[in-house]
Amino acid sequence: MKPSPFAYARAASVAEAVAAFRASGDARYLAGGQSLIPALNLRLQAPELLIDITHIAALRGIELRGDALRIGALTRHSEILASPLVAEAAPLLAAAAPWVAHPAIRNKGTLGGSLSLADPASEFPAVALALNARIELDDGERLRAVAADDFFRDLYETAAEPGEILTAVHVPAARPGQRFAFDELARRRGDFALAGIAIAGDFEGEIAARLRIAMFSVGPTPMRARGAEAALTGTRLADADIARAQAALGEDLPDIPGDAQTGAAARLHLARVLLKRQVARLRDAPEARPA
């Protein structure tokens, strides 16, 4: 279908984009457009103004700043896949990137766009949650950072205020002793996942000292599996520990969605399968990069 008519403006700076947003009252920011334009084409959305932010240089670039990797919001999925810096400092993000949609979508879609949309079936919001990333927001006057734990509020709802632009994502750089795992189950490659998992763990020897487990496609937001984390923390991830974590998932994921193809019970089963496989991988193949 064709979208409803709208006006188009290119912004050269965050301040200019925010000013245009406030002046309009019914504007949307346009970055890679790989979710927004389908929504416009399907007439699910009909804003009066699109503000193209892809020419704002400050939203680009990947750099290591101290012990965190700052990834500009306009970084495309294909750039995340190709970046040696991401592979080294944020291997979990690199591992998730090939799972995002199809190659042509990855050439256009942006990290900032994915997190701003906060689709509960998307890979990167869950990775941000597992990595305890900090989301940088700019309203043209004030820069602030929100922890991923506080950023994803509800279905397609984030902590960003109207007009605020997600400018960058700060990911703690991978440290020695950390292990990561990522996996998802989908009907076909590139489809939205039926269930997915991203895990970041700090290990002391064979003991899982701290674990952050984020799951996607299993609730209104990317979900921390806190009960499963508690069942595994301080253990050697023995099969019995994993079984307790699997049992805990039922309470961790109270709003698991179901549809005509895959009911909620089936999705919970798939989430438990993923949890078992990937925790066992963390235990058995600590040197392996997530795949």
């Binding site: 709208f6 042509a104 979508i105 050439n107």
Partner: protein, 163 residues
């Protein structure tokens, strides 16, 4: 609110300009304003891959790009790649293997295959299928398309191998 804007691009190596509404997709701009109808419009939501073009040397959906966004960029369509011979061996392999029936998906398939083989000269069949995950074909069942791309990759590799 939707007055037309002027867009200038380099299309298939030549400067091109069009006056379009902001809501006009790059695909519709190419087809209706520039009369380049090799780029097809299928789902208009980024699922079918019929509209794929090269924009600044990477493949992307012309249905998910506004023409006004593409201003200043270099676009290459199936016509351009075909005319400069970049697809000749792929096209021959598609022909030999009957890797098309109605042909609606073919320009998008060629775009995906073109980019894949530039990035990975000898992809496995699994990698080829993975790359084609965003291209729908409702006629062939894909097997012949995978064959054609694999054949092209092998022929290119053996042509480059020292005698």
């Amino acid at each position: 609110m939707s007055s037309r804007l002027r867009v200038e691009m380099i299309v298939n190596g030549e400067p091109a300009e069009a006056f379009v509404e902001p809501r006009t997709s790059l695909a519709d701009c190419l087809r209706h304003h520039l009369r380049l109808t090799g780029t097809h419009v299928g789902c208009e939501m980024g699922a079918c891959g019929a509209c794929l073009v090269m924009q600044d040397d990477v493949v992307s959906h012309a249905c998910l790009t506004l023409a006004v966004q593409a201003g200043g960029s270099r676009i290459e369509t199936v016509e351009g790649l075909s005319e400069r011979g970049a697809l000749a061996d792929l096209q021959a392999a598609f022909h030999e293997r009957n890797a098309l029936q109605c042909g609606f998906c073919t320009s998008g398939m060629l775009m995906t295959a073109h980019e894949l083989l530039r990035r990975e000269p000898l992809p496995s069949r699994e990698r080829i299928r993975d790359a084609l995950s965003g291209n729908y074909c409702r006629c062939t069942g894909y097997e012949a398309i995978v064959d054609a791309i694999e054949t092209t990759a092998r022929r290119r590799a053996s042509a480059q191998a020292p005698a």
